[in-house]
Every structure is written in structure tokens, then in C-alpha cells.
Amino acid sequence: MSVHGVARPVREGLFTDTEPPRLLASRCDACGRHQFPRSDTCPYCAADGALPVELSGTGRLWTWTAVTTAPPGYRGEVPYGFGVVELPEGLRVVSRLTEPDPARLSAGQPMRLVVVPVQVDEDGQVLSYAFAPQDRP
């Protein structure tokens, strides 16, 4: 899916405008731990000056569910998938999932990062990140 044209990210600094996309994180220079979203200060060792990094675009599903009722402040469609994906950097990331049926997902399943529209307003599409099963479009 295209991230160009009238489409805009839900917030700058969360993911790259590339194909395939990457999540923008930070890596602490002092303790080596990663943090998403990016933060100047490490939440683990409190060191300042964490370095910006891009995370791997693939990982494995760790836990998952579906959101069936629109939560506060959300104007997109329901249901949608919701879960946590483990990335090779030693990070577990909370994310939307493209698969809205929990029965079609399983623990350890390979997933890849995509960018999806989460709502359409008068200025066009609003984009956010999601993980999709690697074997499905």
C-alpha cells in the first residue's frame, strides 16, 4: 500500500516512509536495550542520548486478540486485530494486526510490518503501523 499522496502518518517518528516500512526505535548506548517509540532517555538505565535505530520488519506473534468495539478516539473500522510481536532486537511491540479473526492466528507465527490506513478524514488517509501474517497479503 502507498504511503504517499494525501495519506499522512498518525504521528511523525513512529515508522519510515519506505517499502517495506520499519519501526523507528532507539537503542541505549549505555545498556544496549531498545525502546519503541523512540526516546532520548533510556527507560531501563536512565542514561541520556539513546541512538535512533530502525527495527527489523519481521518477528513472531507473542499474544493476540481482536478489538470488536471502537475504542475512545478511534474513528476507523472494527473489528481489527491487536497483539504483541517479538522482534529479533529483544523487543516486544504492541501493534494492530491485519488479521481480525483470533482463530486464524497462533503463537510464534511469523509476522511482517506493514502500514495501514486507520481512518479517512477531509485531508485524506491517516496511516499507522500494523503486523500482518507473513504468509498472507
Binding site: R11, T63, T68, A70, Y74, R75, E86, V93, S128
Partner: protein, 379 residues
């Protein structure tokens, strides 16, 4: 350090009360607690009021109404653990010798429906990531992956607590349910069905604390520990609701931190407990609390439930009041509501839901922040 006693407790029922303001409910609970303690105007030197949604000066409004102001009145917000936080401050002040008698109360009138929390940022809301019950579901799903917990166990928690709630006059839901009807209720976020989630509502609770002064008269309940802890980072599913965490399952939960400190402060262990009120925001949260509070080994929650140990009449009854699943959850009042019900238990005044011979009791709340509180009471 001074010992702390519970001199009186009071509660306004939890539910929905269109004709009453949050201040009305607070006045009702505070008056009851003061009357029980025999405390009148000028009889307490500080007040701590717990509320998450009450707004500015909630505590002042209650005490203004009954003509008891002038002392420090501090409003306290710590999410679901707000009441535990207020209790910690009140007890700590007495222990330190600052006051002889302190009023601690909690008030709440929650918005209806799925609650919009100022906790989340706009991008999280717009991305659909501000879905609070879905975070509970992720934790429940993981608990099922990691242990022998099944959907029947989740439904079983609801059945147990709703059965207990039948005899609690202060509960919102007072009818029994069975496993089949719980599983027939709408799926909110797999594996959690609607009836497995507690209902945000309204209510108030109040506790008068006093310096023990060597007075160990019968019926006076001792406050042995009132501990509040926040999270340490690393667990992606902890109640601070982070967007990422580490691939590391050894990070201690906020509840475990609070429980460990409370057991040490009280000089008791989980094996000494006779009765527990714990956070059952959702059915899985209660089972996870068994592990985090040390009522069973890690991974042992399903076995403890299978043994029926946590039912009234079992080895360690949990939520004999019916829990939040029966009472509903008025955030600022819920932790102190647990303390009120446990004081009744220790005094032998819990009626149908009495745990015979209860001498040591534990109250637990955990929620957004993260904030976890553990309170230990004994005769």
C-alpha cells in the same frame, strides 16, 4: 514506630445512582465511618481522599458539606489503587507520629461505557491502540499460553464471585450465573466475554485510622501494612501500558513488588492469610493475582481454582464480597471498599459471606500507572 488501628469503616453501596452526586455518596460513607469510630468534629487531624475521575477538590467538597475542614485534605490519584495510595499516606503519617487520627476515604462516579482515559496520547487513540479491555485480553491470552488456564477457568472466576456477591448488600450485581451463560455473553476481546469484565460504576468508602497507643482491645482491627508500588519497566503487558517491552519474563510485576514489601512489613506470608480481596477487573486478572500475590506458585492458578481453594469454604477464600465482578469498580472507592469488607470479616460481621475464624486478611488492587497496592489487616 506507632501501630495503626482501624477505628471505624463506612461504605456507600457500589452501583449507579442517578439521583446522588459524588459528594452525597462521600458524605454517606464518611459519616458512617466517623460514627463507628466515635470521632466528631476536630477528632481527626488530616484527611486523604482517593479519586481518579472526581475532579478538583473532591475531598474538600465532602468535608465542607459536614462542616469538618481546616485540617490538611489531600486528594490522591493512583488509578485503580487510589484508595490504597490514600491509605498508605494516612497510615504512614500516624506511624511517623504526625497525627493521632486520620480520615481516609474514596469517592467515584465513573463515566458510562468504555472509558476515555487521559492516559493515552491522541496518536494511540486514532490508531485504535487505546482499547483498554483488549490489553486485558492480551494478558489473558498469554496466561492461557503459559499455564493450564482455560476459558472455563475464566468463566469459573465469574461464577464464583457472582455467587459470593448474592449476599453482599453493597454489590451492584446480586444474581448467580453459570459457566454456560458467561460463555454465551458477547466476546469483547477474545478470550474475554462481556461478563468476565467488571463494570465501572459509582460509590464511596471510608476508613478512620488511629494510633494504637497500646490499646489492643478486642474487635480493633490492626493495619499491618499499606504498601503502594509502581512498575519497573520491561514487561510489555504491565499496567503502565507501554508500547514495547523486553523479551524477558523475569521482570517482577508491580503487584509482586507491593506484596513482597507488604508481607515483610506485616511480618506474615501468603500461607498466613485467611481471606483475600483481589483485583478482578477481568477474570484473568484474578487468576494472575493468585500467582503475583504468592497464593500459588507461578503457573499454579488453574490448579488452585480446580481445587476450589478460593471459594467461600475453601482453603483461602478470594473475593468473598463478590469482587469487582459483582460490586463494579468505582476507581477511587474500590480499594477502600475492600478494606471495609475485610474489617467486617475480621470482626466476624460478614454475615452469609463470613470466613470462619478469619484473623489475617489481604486486600490487593492494581491498575493504570502502573499502581499496585497491597494492604494487610489482622486482629
Amino acid at each position: 514506630m506507632n501501630d495503626v488501628h482501624v477505628a471505624g469503616v463506612g461504605i456507600h453501596p457500589f452501583g449507579r445512582f442517578e439521583d446522588r452526586t459524588i459528594t452525597d455518596m462521600g458524605v454517606s460513607a464518611v459519616r458512617s465511618a466517623l460514627a463507628e469510630a466515635g470521632v466528631t468534629k476536630g477528632g481527626f487531624q488530616a484527611a486523604f481522599c482517593a479519586t481518579a475521575y472526581g475532579g478538583v477538590a473532591s475531598g474538600h467538597k465532602v468535608l465542607s458539606r459536614i462542616g469538618m475542614t481546616g485540617m490538611p485534605i489531600v486528594d490522591v490519584e493512583a488509578g485503580c489503587a487510589s484508595g490504597g495510595a490514600a491509605l498508605m499516606l494516612g497510615a504512614g503519617a500516624i506511624r511517623a507520629g504526625a497525627y493521632d487520627t486520620v480520615l481516609v476515604f474514596g469517592v467515584e462516579k465513573m463515566p458510562k461505557g468504555m472509558i476515555r482515559s487521559s492516559f493515552f496520547e491522541p496518536w494511540q487513540e486514532e490508531s485504535g491502540l487505546a482499547a483498554t479491555p483488549a490489553y486485558f485480553a492480551l494478558r489473558a491470552q498469554r496466561l492461557m499460553q503459559d499455564s493450564g488456564v482455560t476459558k472455563d477457568h475464566l468463566a469459573g472466576v465469574v461464577v464464583k464471585n457472582r455467587r459470593h456477591g448474592v449476599h453482599n448488600p453493597d454489590a451492584m450485581f446480586r444474581s448467580e450465573v453459570d459457566v454456560r451463560s458467561v460463555l454465551a455473553s458477547r466476546v469483547v476481546s477474545e478470550p474475554l466475554h462481556l461478563w468476565m469484565l467488571c463494570t465501572p460504576n459509582e460509590g464511596a468508602a471510608a476508613v478512620v485510622l488511629s494510633r494504637a497507643d497500646g490499646d489492643n482491645s478486642r474487635g480493633r482491627v490492626r493495619l499491618r501494612a499499606a504498601v503502594l508500588r509502581s512498575h519497573v519497566p520491561g514487561s510489555v503487558l504491565n499496567e503502565s501500558t507501554p508500547m514495547s517491552g523486553l523479551v524477558d519474563d523475569s521482570v517482577p510485576a508491580a503487584t509482586t513488588l507491593a506484596a513482597t514489601a507488604a508481607y515483610e512489613e506485616a511480618g506474615v506470608g501468603p500461607e498466613d492469610l485467611d481471606v483475600v480481596e483481589c483485583q478482578d477487573t477481568d477474570a484473568a486478572r484474578e487468576l494472575l493475582s493468585y500467582e503475583e500475590l504468592g497464593l500459588c506458585k507461578p503457573g499454579g492458578a488453574a490448579a488452585l481454582a480446580d481445587e476450589r481453594a478460593t471459594e467461600l469454604g475453601g482453603r483461602i477464600p478470594v473475593n468473598p464480597s463478590g469482587g469487582l465482578l459483582s460490586k463494579g469498580e468505582p476507581l477511587g472507592a474500590s480499594a477502600l471498599g475492600q478494606v471495609v469488607t475485610l474489617v467486617h470479616q475480621l470482626r466476624g460481621e460478614a454475615g452469609h459471606n463470613q470466613v470462619e475464624g478469619a484473623r489475617v486478611a489481604l486486600a490487593h488492587t492494581v491498575g493504570r500507572g502502573a499502581n499496585a497496592s497491597v494492604v494487610v489487616l489482622s486482629l
